[in-house]
Symmetry: D2
């Protein structure tokens, strides 16, 4: 527990530095983080999916778990769904069930990597009938978007090859454009299409959408409502993700995030557990983008989603941790003294610039988050509150062997 | 088809250069490559295992497929098995079935990553009862070694953590040593224990055996019959594997290989398909080690195994390709003009040294391998011969849904 | 020496496979590889530049060395220059000197990383006066282009930051666009501007032009005569360069190459010495692009340049090796049986597709290159011929301490 | 400025959690960080060394700058020297000059990469006379150790090759052992030899001492006083350095650190500026090692050195920042609630274990460090204090063109 004395002193110290604490708190209260339905389900590595007791048995139970996370954190009112993992007979019922739980349906994600026909690709497959099948599945998802009230189509393609020569790279590139164009046309008005990219896996030689530049290139050809989705785990080692974020913001093409963390490849660990400073640097670009009139519109429309695979940890606690870690990084980014930073940068003072940014990161924002939660009528420590609640016991009734990937 | 004219001219050209073609052919005829039973079975990525028609339904059918590979290549008389994937009621029957097919059982591989208890590790698990269970499974495999006539215990541990702080690294290190010591004691006389290492996956923060140095360190503590196993896909990007091979040879601690190829992580692609020059450089160190009296004994006892995961390609053809690619790399390594190379190295002539080594790689060794196969009574092109045979049709009867991982 | 018998048989074997050997030879004869003036000069690592005896003392001697490489290889009629390293009083004299040697001046390269003002960047520097100075230097190079008859301006920016927060990434992005736009306007008609990118070094946090997508994005904004330059050593580990090559070709935005090789970072080693298969795969995309009407124009206008840093090897021999290795890779790429490959790809036959491509790589093309050189009136082995010539002795007169970076 | 109220509350909060604040403060007061003489001198990248005004002109001025850093931070009483960069006629005079400044000489570092003879290596060079020269230089450094009162010989070898085949890897390995053995014999009693390793650079194919395992292997052969030196920038991307630290501690073979930070390769940036969490995780292993009787002796004898290359930032401020960042990481590591952590680990509670460790990192330790500095009679903010002092103005008199690498 953080005491009122700590909170009070924290506010005073920040205000003395000139930080507009009220503004900071408001921004934190307005943060919206979308959790993924599949993040509540069993998942694992290629070696083994360890099944957990209490995992949801159907899409409705996934929504219930998501509602619990929202109840405790107050910033997760939306749930991304994945078709066919969340296939139901009546999508309007799914929608109203979500609404009753205080939730809305967020991004709709087609599955383009598990149908037996997709072994060599989906929209880039060498055979036309397979490409058509893939497009048709995505169009089905566009229909589902309308039924569930979603305004984001989130596209990740596992398409690629495992061997040099396996397929013709440029031909596949053209197939991809054909497919995306057709889907873009079908998109509901006001809906956006987010195009994800990934360095590798499951394709091990070339991935048709391998980096931000490839996604971006298609977005340029498609139109305004096509934007890039950045998954923090989908880059080559050493890639400067904040740089990519800044660039896409500047071009108005940053549409969404898949938050998670990684040390090696697409490890899909809880957000902020491996490199919290990188997460802060990403948030720093986002807040900077919100403050700049040239990028504010793009910045304020970004969809923040969590996408992680809990191989060994409890699902709901892991989701809460990730939400809290995202809040922490945003809170710190909101404390950056931007005027002083700008001045030091313009003077070319390397040490001072670095220090000003780092100072915000060094600040312990737990008192701030405690205050924000208090003002929102939420528990100060959402994870502790969850663990002490009845919910973790209640879901044990679901037993083992829930609906996994 | 390679003509006799080509073969003849090839031999003449090499002999004119002073290459002892007979010696080279003999070495190639004596090459022994062990294929893995699981390489004939369904496998895939964490996203999907695409099932193939005709995949073996049980360990016996895996042996039959391995025998077919040996029949066509002549250099694959041994099959590595994996327990419990190859669990049978009567192991002596498995052994005699292999013998009837012209095969022997090679390395025995325990499975320390799929039991529900192993979610946080096997021999390094924080709970003693789990560690005991893991050791007991390995000891069971030692018993199986005796029944099937194997003299190699091949150990890969998926043990590790996903998060900083998740467990105590040094404590786990001591658990590992305790387990290995106990197993080493139980090893049949004349049998060796090969200790594999892996940079990451399925553990995403730390892997208890993460690099050659960690495996080597345990081998030093255990004794002569503990040696390191090098899997070509288990290193950080950029790692110089030939260097590690040379070092382990020099210390008499290189025990075995898992051949495969990768571009990114542990991609488990067919051998020699992504970086054939690296494969050649590895073989170059091995042949150099065979020629050096100080390392010859170690070099000649190395167990060469294939370990790959055929996600999208046909199993038996993929195995044949890998065998042929290994033969190709060894053949080229046997053509290195070592005396000239040594002299150029001693003179510090960078360009000449590099060129002498590269010259061997540039040589097309397909005529040589054709000649070797002819003299061994084998088809010149094992893959073409397989595809034209009845075998690929026959196995279709097995249907789909064979025994995967 | 490769005998006529070998050459003859080689041609016959290829013709029997349906390879149009005459066409292949013609393409090889028409290959143009530009060597860099600075590749003949002393260079090294940050730890030490080891000086060699016989290195050129001025731009004219660099041209003489380049002429020697062209005399022996027949495919290097152009020399890239770097300002101010190749600064002379009279550029038309430099041009006519080159012409007398049988050479032309290729790309002109400004230096934007060694002026004392550029410590925090050149065109992206926070201070306007430094940005202006940088632009002014590039415009000076544009003037030099006219004087030396060059039609390629080759731009590499070392601009970037070493620390998070050091400077404002999006502001620098806008400075870069301002500078490039101004330079593009000044470009001589018919000249192209090639924009290089680099993953890191000398900037260690963010590099303003860090990947192909960033260069490409500027090219799109600038116009048709702005294209991307791919340096083989400027990517993150694992990056699929052939994929990037294919993509840029498909967009008509591939303008040039800096050939070299690397194992770790921007190692600038001799071409084809670390990963010859990757080099072949790059050439395979280039030849495929030449054969496709949709990309042929772009493919045929690519400027092929060598860019390497000979830290420990002799300069001219190293350059010859790199030229020969590029020829080797192109020769192999020309042997790919593209119709068969296309068919196997369309049938989704992974093993066959991979094998068809690899077969071309496995072919020893030294007989082909010997034949091509013979028909061009060149020595069969350019390096041996150089080493036996008087040239390496003659240049010793230049002494030590030549003109380095 | 951090107020007394903040400090007081900080202490109270920690004491309420059961943290022994006195013990923590004492450990921080006893921290010893060695700064490198060359860290005060000009350095840069292979592209350019930007020279700064005010850089030391000789070894004595380097000591003066180091004394200034010690005066302000109170934890840097030792200076590492590098021969011949710090070559003087009278080493006992150098020693007494250091002593007068309140300093002692720390590690002595031979230079094995800048002599013209070392182009192909030093102790691993193919030619015996060069190897002898290298050994003789190291023995000279051993003599200097005696004169300056140093008890640490710090060895970094740039030895390696740039091309496959360039030299014989195993032969070089034996040369290395011969050299190290000879040097070990000559070591002053009670002195230690620290053996560094590096993944790559300046060698670009293989580095003779490429990873911890190679250094460790030699240490085992040499004896107790040979230990491994870990430089935080000398690993492959993704390498888990805390794991290596834990392992070497456990074996009693961790001898020293070169602190710095990197994003890509051996970037030599200020400590803690790129990945502060990794730095904390390293310190966490070190403190854990100090607390464990089995490793305490090794842990308490580790030599902590800074080794960084200030390309664009001011030297003394950069050194102060690094010192402060190391203190910060150690301070946080001292706040880990180890009993609670151990229990959570033993219970296999992934989320709780991770959280306990992370909690310490999240804590803002600036109040603690302010208190420690106050009690040591030091300025609360050493960098601000330096910038306000006369020192930065005074050294401008030295002018430009100081003694660089």
């Amino acid at each position: 527990m953080i005491s009122q004395a700590e909170i009070k002193l924290w506010v005073k110290v920040q205000e003395d530095k000139g930080i507009p604490v009220e503004t900071v708190k408001n921004r934190l209260k307005n943060l919206v983080i979308e959790t993924p339905s599949w993040g509540y389900a069993d998942c694992g590595t290629r070696f083994k999916v360890y099944k957990q007791v209490g995992v949801p048995r159907n899409p409705y139970e996934k929504l219930e778990d998501a509602a619990e996370v929202h109840r405790l954190t107050g910033v997760c009112p939306k749930v991304a769904i994945h078709i066919p993992w969340d296939k139901v007979d009546d999508y309007s019922h799914l929608k109203s069930y979500a609404n009753e739980l205080g939730l809305g349906i967020g991004a709709v994600n087609p599955n383009l990597f598990q149908d037996d026909n997709f072994v060599l690709g989906s929209v880039c497959h060498p055979r036309e009938e397979v490409r058509k099948k893939a497009i048709s599945h995505i169009l089905e998802c566009v229909e589902i978007m309308k039924l569930v009230g979603s305004d984001v189509l989130s596209l990740w393609f596992a398409d690629g090859t495992n061997y040099p020569g396996q397929d013709h790279i440029r031909k596949r590139k053209r197939y991809m454009l054909e497919a995306l164009s057709q889907i873009y046309e079908a998109l509901p008005e006001n809906a956006r299409m987010l195009i994800e990219y990934k360095f590798f896996e499951p394709a091990f030689y070339h991935t048709d959408l391998a980096d931000w530049g490839m996604s971006y290139n298609y977005c340029l050809k498609l139109g305004e409502r096509a934007q890039v989705l950045v998954d923090l785990g989908h880059h080559a080692q050493g890639t400067n993700i904040p740089h990519i974020v800044a660039l896409l913001l500047d071009e108005g093409k940053l549409g969404g995030f898949h938050f998670n963390n990684r040390k090696y490849a697409d490890d899909d660990l809880m957000v902020g557990t491996i490199d919290p400073y990188e997460l802060f640097l990403v948030c720093n670009e986002l807040i900077d983008g919100e403050n700049d009139p040239a990028t504010a519109e793009c910045a304020r429309n970004i969809t923040y989603m969590i996408d992680q695979c809990h191989s060994i940890e409890s699902k709901i606690p892991a989701m809460i941790k990730s939400v809290v870690n995202i809040q922490t990084a945003f809170a710190k980014a909101l404390l950056v003294q931007r005027d002083a930073l700008r001045q030091a940068q313009e003077e070319g003072d390397v040490i001072r610039s670095e220090s000003i940014l780092k100072d915000a990161f060094e600040t312990d924002v737990r008192p701030l988050l405690a205050l924000v939660r208090e003002e929102m009528g939420l528990p100060q420590d959402p994870l502790a509150s969850y663990l002490q609640s009845e919910y973790p016991k209640k879901i044990l009734e679901r037993g083992i062997g829930g609906q996994g990937w």
